[in-house]
C-alpha cells in the first residue's frame, strides 16, 4: 500500500464526504427548524438523480447545466410536501412525533413505488457529458473529474447555505426555531418560513443528487444508503448544526474510504457506524449539537 494510494483514497473519501455533508445539511435544516425528521430524504435524492437521467436522455441536457433546473424542481417538491403533508402532520393532536415519522416513512415507500412505475427497476447511469470519464492527475494521484466537481459544487452549495443563515431570512429561521409561537407576534409567518425551509432543504439534496448522477448508478432504492449515512451524519454532527453536518460528513467520507481500503469494501460502513456508537456513548448530542 503506497502513500500515494492512501492519499488518493483519502481525497476520494473527503470528496464523497462533501456530498454526504450536503445531503445531511438539508435534513438537519428541516429538523432544526421544526423537529421533523424527514424519512423520505433519500427518496428526494433519488428523484433528483432520475430527473438528471431523464433530462439527459430526452433533451440531451448536460448534468451540470441541469443544476438550477433540478434544484428548482426539488424546491417546489419540498414546498409541496410541507404544504400537503407535513403541515397537516404538525397539526395532529395525538402522537405528533409518531405521526410525523410514519407520514414521511409512508411517503418514502410511495416515492419508491412511483419511481418503479415511472422509471422502471433497471439500474441507470448517465454515460456522457462534460465531466464524464475524465480524470485529473496530480503526480501519482489520479482522481475522477466528476467526483472533484461534486465535492466542489457541494462545498459551494454549503457555503451558500451558511450565507443564507446570516440573512434576514436566516434570522427569521432561527427565530422560528427558537419559539414558533412568539414569532407570529412580530409578523413572521410561520407557515411561510417552514415552507421555505422545506424548499431549501429539498433543493440542497437536489444539488447533491445532480452531482452524484454523473458518476453513481441510479435506481429506485439508491436513496436508502445515502439517507442512512445522512441520519448518522446529522446525529454525529449534532441535530440542527450546519457546521456539524459539514465536519461529520467529511469525517464519515474519510472513515468509509479508509475502512474500505484497510479492511474490506463490503464492510465500509462499519467504520462509520462504530464512530457513531462511540459518539453516542461519549457525547450523545453529537459533536456540535445543542441539546
Amino acid at each position: 500500500m503506497t502513500a500515494s494510494l492512501v492519499l488518493q483514497v483519502a481525497i476520494g473519501g473527503l470528496l464523497m464526504g462533501l456530498v454526504y455533508a450536503l445531503v445531511a445539511a438539508g435534513l438537519s435544516l428541516i429538523f432544526g427548524l421544526m423537529d421533523v425528521v424527514n424519512f423520505a430524504h433519500g427518496q428526494l435524492l433519488m428523484l433528483a438523480m432520475y430527473a438528471v437521467f431523464e433530462f439527459h436522455t430526452l433533451l440531451g441536457l448536460d448534468p451540470l447545466v441541469q443544476l438550477p433546473l433540478v434544484a428548482a424542481l426539488l424546491f417546489v417538491l419540498g414546498v409541496a410536501i410541507y404544504r400537503g403533508l407535513i403541515a397537516r402532520a404538525l397539526a395532529v393532536r395525538f402522537n405528533t412525533g409518531m405521526v410525523q415519522i410514519f407520514v414521511t416513512f409512508g411517503l418514502s415507500i410511495f416515492l419508491v413505488g412511483f419511481a418503479q412505475l415511472v422509471f422502471g427497476t433497471d439500474f441507470r447511469s448517465v454515460n456522457s457529458g462534460l465531466l464524464f470519464g475524465r480524470t485529473v492527475a496530480i503526480g501519482q494521484i489520479v482522481l475522477p473529474l466528476p467526483q472533484i466537481a461534486a465535492g466542489l459544487v457541494c462545498l459551494l452549495a454549503f457555503a451558500a447555505l451558511m450565507l443564507i443563515a446570516r440573512t434576514e431570512f436566516g434570522r427569521a429561521l432561527e427565530a422560528t426555531r427558537e419559539d414558533r409561537d412568539a414569532v407570529a407576534l412580530i409578523g413572521i409567518d410561520r407557515n411561510r418560513i417552514f415552507s421555505l425551509g422545506w424548499g431549501i432543504g429539498a433543493a440542497t439534496v437536489g444539488i447533491a443528487g445532480v452531482m452524484l448522477a454523473s458518476f453513481y448508478y441510479i435506481s429506485p432504492t439508491v436513496g436508502d444508503s445515502f439517507a442512512l449515512i445522512a441520519y448518522v451524519t446529522v446525529a454525529l454532527g449534532g441535530f440542527g448544526s450546519l457546521i456539524g453536518a459539514l465536519i461529520a460528513g467529511l469525517l464519515i467520507g474519510l472513515t468509509e474510504a479508509m475502512t474500505a481500503l484497510v479492511i474490506d469494501p463490503s464492510l465500509k460502513q462499519i467504520g462509520v457506524f462504530m464512530i457513531y456508537v462511540l459518539v453516542l456513548m461519549v457525547r450523545p448530542r453529537g459533536l456540535f449539537g445543542r441539546l
Binding site: 413505488g113 412511483f114 442512512l228 453516542l280
Partner: protein, 333 residues
C-alpha cells in the same frame, strides 16, 4: 380520575373479550379451505404478536424504536442455528432466541436510552443496520446466503410440517395470544403505570421518584424477547432465514406499523392494525404489483400516510367511543 373498581372491571372485560376472540380464532381455521387464506392468517397473527411486542416499548413506554428487526433476527437466527447445527428443536430454541433478543435489547438500550425522541429512533435504526451489516459478512451463519432449514419429518416438537399453513395458524395464534396476555399483564402492573408516566412526562415522573432508566430497560427486555419469539417461529414457518428477511430496516418498520395504525399503547391496537395492514399489503402486492411495477408500494405508502394523518390515535378509536373522547379531553386539558 377513574375509580379503581371501573379500571378492574374494564380489565376483566378485556380478558373475557380476549378469551372469546381466542375461541373464534381457534375455530376459524377449520372453516377455511384456501391455503392462500391460511397463509394470510398466519402472517396476520405473526405481525399481531410482533407488533404487540413492539408496543410494550414503543407504545406503553413511548420509546419509538426503528430497530426491532434486530430482535426478530436474533430470535430467528438463534433458533435456526441451534436446530440446524445442534439438532435442538425450535420449540426449545425459541426460548434461547427470546433470551438473547431480550439481552440484545438491554445492550441496545444502555447507550440509546440516554437519547429521546428522534435521536432515540435514529440510534435504534443504526443499531439494527450494524447488525445487518455484520451478519451479511459473518460466515458462521452463512453470511448473505442465509440458512435453509431442511425438512426432515412431520413433527410438532420441531414445528416441521409438510403443509405448514394449517398448523402454523395455531402456532401463530398461540404466539399472538401470548404477546397479548403479556401486554395485558404489564398494562395492569406497576411497571405499566411507570411506563405511561415516563411516556407522558419523563421529567415529572423523575421528580416523583420514578427511576426512569431501569423502567425503560425492563420494557426493552420484554419487548425484545416477545419479538425474538416471533422471529424464531417465522424462520421455522418459512424454513429459511437470511439477513434481509431477518434484519432489514423495512422489517423494523413493518413490526412497528400495525401498532401505530391500530393504536399505540393499547391492547387491541396491534391486533387490529395487523388485521388491516397485512391483508392489504399482501393483496395489493398480488393484485396491483404483479409485475413489480410499484403501484402496490404507492398504494401501501399512501395508505400509511392517510391512516397516520386521519387516525393519529389509531383505528381502535373507531370502536371505543368513550375512552377516545376521554383521552381527547385529557389531552386538551
Amino acid at each position: 380520575m377513574v375509580p379503581v373498581n371501573t379500571v378492574l372491571r374494564r380489565r376483566r372485560q378485556e380478558l373475557i373479550l380476549g378469551g372469546a376472540l381466542l375461541v373464534v380464532l381457534a375455530v376459524l381455521p377449520l372453516a377455511i379451505s384456501s391455503d392462500y387464506l391460511r397463509g394470510l392468517i398466519v402472517l396476520t397473527l405473526l405481525y399481531a404478536g410482533l407488533s404487540q411486542g413492539w408496543n410494550i416499548l414503543g407504545g406503553y413506554c413511548g420509546q419509538i424504536s426503528l430497530g426491532h428487526g434486530l430482535y426478530f433476527g436474533i430470535g430467528a437466527y438463534v433458533s435456526t442455528v441451534l436446530y440446524v447445527d445442534y439438532a435442538i428443536p425450535p420449540t426449545l430454541g425459541l426460548f434461547a432466541g427470546a433470551a438473547l433478543a431480550g439481552l440484545a435489547a438491554l445492550l441496545v438500550g444502555w447507550p440509546c436510552f440516554r437519547l429521546s425522541g428522534h435521536y432515540y429512533a435514529i440510534a435504534t435504526l443504526v443499531m439494527g443496520l450494524i447488525a445487518l451489516l455484520l451478519v451479511n459478512n459473518w460466515d458462521f451463519v452463512n453470511a448473505a446466503r442465509g440458512i435453509t432449514i431442511p425438512f426432515r419429518h412431520q413433527s410438532w416438537v420441531a414445528l416441521e410440517f409438510r403443509f405448514p399453513n394449517f398448523p402454523f395458524q395455531y402456532v401463530m395464534l398461540a404466539y399472538a395470544a401470548l404477546a397479548w396476555i403479556i401486554a395485558w399483564i404489564v398494562e395492569g402492573s406497576r411497571w405499566g403505570f411507570v411506563w405511561r408516566a415516563v411516556k407522558d412526562d419523563a421529567v415529572a415522573a423523575r421528580s416523583l421518584g420514578v427511576r426512569i432508566f431501569p423502567s425503560k430497560m425492563a420494557a426493552a427486555a420484554i419487548s425484545g424477547a416477545v419479538v425474538g419469539v416471533g422471529g424464531a417461529l417465522y424462520a421455522q414457518y418459512v424454513g429459511f432465514i437470511d439477513p434481509d428477511s431477518g434484519l432489514g430496516l423495512s422489517l423494523s418498520v413493518l413490526i412497528a406499523l400495525p401498532a401505530v395504525v391500530g393504536g399505540v399503547g393499547t391492547l387491541w391496537g396491534p391486533l387490529l392494525g395487523a388485521a388491516v395492514l397485512i391483508p392489504v399489503q399482501q393483496l395489493s402486492g398480488a393484485w396491483l404489483g404483479g409485475a413489480g411495477n410499484g403501484v402496490d408500494l404507492m398504494f401501501y405508502g399512501a395508505l400509511i400516510v392517510a391512516l397516520a394523518l386521519l387516525r393519529p390515535q389509531g383505528l381502535v378509536s373507531l370502536f371505543a367511543r368513550r375512552p377516545a373522547k376521554a383521552a381527547e379531553e385529557a389531552h386538551a386539558g
